[in-house]
């Protein structure tokens, strides 16, 4: 399914009917996420943060889907979806503080960078083991259904996650219990190095849904409006008691799996170049230019605003001290048991490791 044509006009039969302001806001969110990503990747290369897992090339699949969910719907992330969280209004400074693991990091320096969450934004927590979040999403949706709440849940995962036992367990539960859940499969071509053709023998991801009698759609994931239209249709199905929907978002990871990856080992530059031409940001820009509400000057201005914003956040985050050592010992349980009190005291009174020595 595609909505935005080559020339930027829309397929009128599939047009989700967003206002000019809504489409421009969506475009601006895509650009902002791209600029944040690029800045974080750069400072990781400079050794200022430890790690980053970005969404280069997948912004439309992520933010287009987030835009189609309603504010009170839940988002269950994989780990590449911070753009969806920022789109919901999560403060950029808070995210960058997390990337630095500083005193204002919402998770107190306990997690690697890009492990975000926010109850206020109905966005669950990132977990590294693949696929484990998918049954959580189904459980959340089962709870919403049990409680007669008009909520649905969108859960993101990649093509690789469709091999996990959690994926199949979750799909099967969704088929049986019919909760309001949307399975948002970002098929970006690779699970780290493994191409999707070697991940599974099925021709598409969407056909896996048929085994669980979950309705499925395949969408051009680089077409923000196609993503929006498909996800909105799934939300409406869920809200009307129609149960789960599986949406395969066909996209491409323009960057590495993470900053620890070197994609040159497993794919050609020519392949990546071809996909650069299908950049979801260029695609949406062509549309708003076609509508005559965007031009080079506006684009340049917005990019400058985003760039200054993220640079400011980085500068501030870098100056903050590390989290308190005592925060290592809290939140294991609701109340700290005796053994953790003891260990916290031992740690506090014991010798300090200090900073790691610079091996370079």
């Amino acid at each position: 399914m595609q909505v935005i044509r080559e020339d930027g006009s829309l397929d009128s039969k599939l047009d989700p009917g967003l206002s000019v302001d809504e489409v421009v806001a969506l475009y601006k969110a895509l650009v902002r996420t791209r600029i944040v990503d690029e800045r974080l990747e750069r400072i990781q290369r400079q050794g200022r943060i430890a790690f980053h897992v970005g969404s280069l090339g997948e912004e439309a699949a992520i933010i287009g889907a987030a835009a189609a969910l309603r504010d009170h719907d839940w988002i269950v992330p994989c780990y590449r979806e911070v753009g969806a969280l920022l789109f919901r209004g999560y403060p950029l400074q808070r995210y960058v503080d997390h990337m630095f693991g500083n005193a204002d990091d919402p998770v107190c320096g306990r997690q690697m960078p890009d492990h975000t969450f926010s109850r206020a934004h109905r966005y669950l927590s990132v977990s590294a083991p693949i696929g484990t979040q998918i049954p959580h999403a189904v459980g959340l949706a089962m709870a919403a259904k049990t409680r007669n709440l008009d909520e649905c849940v969108g859960v993101f995962f990649g093509d690789g996650a469709t091999s996990s036992n959690d994926f199949h367990a979750a799909m099967n539960f969704a088929g049986v219990f019919q909760p309001p859940v949307l399975f948002l499969c970002r098929n970006n071509g690779y699970a780290i190095s493994l191409p999707v053709e070697r991940q599974t023998a099925t021709r598409t991801m969407a056909e896996k849904a048929a085994a669980y009698r979950v309705p499925a759609a395949r969408v051009d994931g680089n077409d923000a409006l196609a993503v929006f239209a498909a996800v909105r249709e799934g939300v409406q199905r869920a809200a009307n008691g129609g149960g789960p929907t599986f949406i395969e978002l066909l996209t491409y990871r323009l960057g590495g799996h993470s900053t620890s990856d070197d994609p040159r080992i497993y794919r050609s530059e020519a392949e990546v170049d071809a996909w650069r031409k299908a950049d979801p940001i260029l695609r949406l820009r062509r549309h708003i230019e076609h509508r005559k509400v965007w031009n080079d000057e506006l684009d340049e201005d917005w990019r400058t605003v985003c760039d200054l914003e993220v640079k400011d956040c980085v500068r501030i985050a870098e100056q903050k001290p590390p989290p308190e050592l005592s925060e290592m010992f809290t939140d294991v349980y609701a109340e700290q048991p005796w053994h953790l009190r003891e260990q916290e005291a031992l740690s506090a009174g014991g010798p300090r490791a200090g900073a790691e020595e610079d091996e370079s």
Partner: protein
């Protein structure tokens, strides 16, 4: 008060929790229409309906993973894993997800869920219907582990576990599911987590046990009493967080300790208990601590009574340590 066995007491606890709190729901394989393979949930689907007593597809990952999602939404799911031996497909959900959700969100999200599961041998169940995997969960920060020995405690501890804000593994000693009857109130009373109970006061040896092996420890204590050895038997009830005070003060009094558990010896919870007692009461010890446990083999069938740490193996250890 009604005379109840463990199965009836647990059923009574679940019924009470379902009545008191609309957020409580039960889920598991065969727990609804059938009432569970041990009939622990018998009659509950009829009373509370299929939306609160869910017969689930056959997937531990699915049961535990969706239960976590429900708990994140604010429900209080009580899942049944049909046998503790079958918990491993859902192990990742418990260890990587339920246990860590509070920590990895600095308390913004938490997972108030209970996982009930029958554990232990002595029912001719062989290697896949007899295991005692409690140590794996005690080893995981963020989980609580409870193992009652009798109907009164089982009901009170389960009601408390359901109210608890953290994920609780609730191991049910299936060997004594129907063997022990006692007076159990109809009310929804609570037994606090983290409190052990001295079930037989004594002066010369401290004997720690839990679940089904509590009865073996007690029988062995009665046996050696005939030889003039006075044993204090402690039922741990909650394995983690542990009631370290009760254990330490007992050992400081007796100077001798025997620990009994069904699980294999190496890296079993007994090893941790020995370490804790040794660290805290070293100068009070009059004899080396002794562990009477399952052997380091998979759980056997024909010779299960030789595998289990039954009274015939505990009594000589009690005598040995008393005479050391």
């Amino acid at each position: 008060m009604t005379k109840m066995n463990l199965v009836q007491a647990i059923n009574s606890a679940l019924r009470g929790a379902l009545r008191e709190d609309e957020n409580v729901l039960l889920m598991g394989e065969d727990i609804g229409t059938l009432g569970g393979v041990f009939r622990v949930t018998q009659g509950l689907r009829e009373e509370f309906g299929p939306d609160r007593v869910l017969d689930t597809p056959l997937s531990e990952t699915g049961i535990l993973g969706t239960a976590i999602g429900m708990a994140l939404h604010g429900l209080r799911p009580v899942s049944e894993i049909q046998f503790a031996d079958f918990i491993y497909p859902g192990f990742d959900q418990l260890v990587s997800e339920a246990a860590k959700y509070r920590y990895r969100t600095a308390g913004e999200f938490h997972v108030p869920m209970v996982v009930r599961t029958p554990y232990g041998g002595g029912i001719r169940g062989g290697q896949y219907h007899s295991q005692s995997p409690e140590a794996l969960f005690i080893h995981t920060p963020g989980l609580k582990v409870v193992c009652p020995s009798n109907p009164y405690d089982a009901k009170g501890l389960l009601l408390e576990a359901i109210r608890d804000e953290d994920p609780v593994l609730f191991f049910e000693p299936k060997r004594v599911y129907r063997a022990v009857k006692m007076d159990v109130p109809e009310t929804t009373y609570r037994v606090p987590l983290g409190e052990a109970k001295v079930v037989r006061p004594g002066e010369q040896v401290s004997c720690l046990a839990w679940g089904a092996m509590l009865y073996e420890a007690f029988a062995a204590a009665e046996e050696v009493a005939k030889h003039g050895v006075d044993v204090e038997v402690i039922d741990l009830r909650t394995l983690w967080p542990l009631d370290i005070e009760t254990i330490t003060s007992s050992v400081k009094k007796t100077g001798r300790i025997v620990i009994v558990h069904e699980a294999p010896r190496t890296c079993g919870f007994g090893g941790e208990l020995v370490a804790l007692v040794t660290e805290r009461a070293f100068l009070h010890l009059e004899a080396p601590p002794i562990r009477i446990t399952g052997w380091d083999t998979p759980f056997p069938l024909t010779h299960e009574r030789e595998y289990l740490p039954l009274a015939h193996r505990i009594a000589p250890a009690l005598l040995e340590t008393a005479r050391y």
